[in-house]
Symmetry: C2
Subunit: 195 residues, 2 copies
């Protein structure tokens, strides 16, 4: 048999990407087979090739979509007029946004080595663009005398690394709410870069 019921093209594609994202995040790109992905969607492996040219493309598309969504979401985030408020907005946005798509974040950080050089450069450029957003806030703050860091680039990387750490331990069922976690990290970031 073939098509079991209705037209599936517009729903099968997203389901494949969702299954791939979950499996890549859990087991790693190299450890997941096309047959496993297909099985999660209820397909045979061959059917995947109606939606992707090969396995690597599946990974690249997930990473690209994630990075672009991240940049778009931050651009759409309302920003206070003062740098201190901007930094707080970034911290809370980053924690909240990344926790809600931890699978995509894990992949974007762990599977860079499975990309071809071209694809790597593209994803890396996106990441740098995001880091530049934070560094811009820090630079403004330093100029205004609100922040004090010896190196805004390193400070930006340090802050992002610290915030990403939340992903390794946060659970929805844990003792702290999302907002409480945000506030704890915001306190530490504010003090770390403050005058």
């Amino acid at each position: 048999m073939a098509r079991t019921q209705g037209s599936h093209s517009d729903i099968t594609g997203p389901r494949i990407r969702a299954a791939a994202q979950e499996l890549f995040a859990r087991h790693g790109f190299a450890a997941v087979s096309m047959r496993q992905i297909a099985s999660h969607v209820g397909l045979q492996a061959g059917a995947l090739y109606n939606y992707t040219s090969d396995k690597q493309s599946l990974l690249v598309e997930l990473m690209q979509a994630h990075m672009e969504d991240l940049l778009t979401a931050w651009a759409a985030e309302p920003k206070p007029g003062d740098v201190m408020g901007c930094l707080e907005a970034f911290v809370r946005f980053h924690i909240r946004y990344n926790l809600q798509r931890s699978d995509a974040v894990f992949i974007a950080y762990m599977e860079l080595r499975n990309l071809t050089p071209d694809n790597f450069r593209q994803i890396e450029a996106h990441r740098r663009a995001y880091e530049d957003q934070l560094e811009g806030v820090l630079k403004d703050g330093v100029e205004q005398g609100v922040f004090d860091v010896p190196d805004t680039k390193i400070a930006a990387l340090a802050v992002i690394a610290m915030l990403n750490g939340v992903l390794t331990w946060y659970r929805d069922s844990g003792r702290l709410s999302l907002v409480e976690v945000e506030t704890i990290y915001w306190d530490m970031v504010r003090k770390a870069v403050g005058v």
Copy 2:
């Protein structure tokens, strides 16, 4: 032919582990084959099984050795009498030690998902023991009124995550020396947890 010259058992073992560590760190455990490891040492794949029972054991032994070395090295580190000095010692030690074995650190953080449950628990216990070392310093500091953090456990995780970020960008040939990097991070950590 077989043995080409001299007795190799005591030198081949370490060379295999070194090759495995480098390849696992660069391409990921699942993406590296036993034949690649053997080829890096100048052996056939079958010869590896004189030194390891299987591929997973090779990974576990690397991770265990790394975590135990880390705990031993920190235990041997001289510690000042005051908590502030202790925290500084931890920050500088962590950056320096981890940068000097970035391959082992990468593996210990990225390949946890390739471990069997038993092995995972063992490595995780080691990691927690290391985190507890830092949390102990923070707790003492809070009691003495030298530090101010709402949650010592989260603060410890945040500090370690921030320090680990160095691994993703530091290069020996970069514009900053190791000591300069240590100092920049120590400044941020000190302010982040300070009163």
